[in-house]
Amino acid sequence: MKNDRILEQILAALQESQPALKEEAAAKLTSSILAGITNKKQLTNANGSLLSIAKSLMAAAAVLLVSMFLYQNAVDHPGNHQSGIVYNSYYKETIRNYGCLPQTNSISVLLDYYRQYKKGKNALTLLREQYNPMAKK
């Protein structure tokens, strides 16, 4: 019980006596805190501008990479670089079929072609040879 009382006394004394800095040391601490804040603020601003520069550089690099890729593509596939047709199976098929059709605008010729086509493969071949200059080659 005596220890309890002594402990209470010690705690009361500790609570009463506030650890403190001398005026000069306290002022020095305040100024160093404020200096730290100012430095941090400047650093943050500098970081902000660095970040925007980095973003611009990254965008420029992306544009450069895409350009290089397109250029390389054009070099690898000369003649086809104006569009992506050469890589598209649908367009590939259309071009191939178009080569087989008679090169004419006449409805009667096309009807004749259709009739021959319905009759059989040989007739079609004949018609191709007749009307398609490419097929003759």
Binding site: K2, N3, L7, L14, P19, L21, A25, L29, I37, K40
Partner: protein, 188 residues
């Protein structure tokens, strides 16, 4: 200080006003120093921790929510900074075998130099709490030395009210054992 001006300073600080934050530093510096000193027990290191506390407060002041007390928020940052410091600088301080009662009497003497008084405080706290766990020392400091309520302590330490109470009980029990070992009552 009016609550109004404090909230004004906080709002301005959140918008990046360093001058307003300077007012907050001037107002809370001594209180935070006292708390950190009681935890660390060294004036030089306590100054470094106080500086780090306010720098962190400045960095994260936008995250402060006005539904909490600002002092509680600062205490939380100071606790984290002190914990980080103690974690990285595991110094073993050996306290002189001085008479605790004599030191306490000296504390109440206002003619003492502040530096000497700080040294006495550090010695008494160090000798009393050297057997406590970090949690026990933390809740003991907040409750008995800083005079905070249990609710505030739970917010600062992130411990439940029951844990705070049990740690306080164990802290007191350990300190009584320390006093018993010192046989203070026989000297008195």
């Amino acid at each position: 200080m009016h609550e109004h001006s404090l909230s004004e300073w906080i709002a301005k600080s959140q918008q990046g006003d360093a001058v307003a934050f300077g007012q907050i530093v001037a107002f809370y510096q001594s209180q935070i120093f006292a708390y950190v000193f009681r935890l660390i027990g060294n004036e030089h290191d306590a100054k470094d921790v106080v500086q780090e506390t306010f720098l962190r407060a400045w960095t994260y002041c936008k995250t402060y929510q006005s539904r909490f007390r600002f002092s509680t928020w600062l205490y939380t940052i100071a606790t984290n900074c002190s914990h980080d410091y103690l974690h990285t600088n595991k110094k073993i301080t050996i306290y002189a075998e001085e008479n605790m009662i004599l030191l306490c009497d000296q504390l109440t003497n206002s003619n003492l130099e502040q530096e000497l008084s700080n040294k006495n405080i550090a010695t008494i706290i160090g000798r009393l709490t050297h057997t406590l766990t970090p949690k026990q020392k933390l809740v003991f400091t907040l409750k008995y030395l800083e005079g905070l309520e249990t609710e505030e302590i739970t917010m600062i330490t992130k411990l439940s009210a029951e844990k705070v109470k049990s740690n306080l009980y164990l802290a007191k029990k350990n300190m009584k054992e320390v006093l018993l070992k010192m046989k203070i009552h026989e000297k008195r």
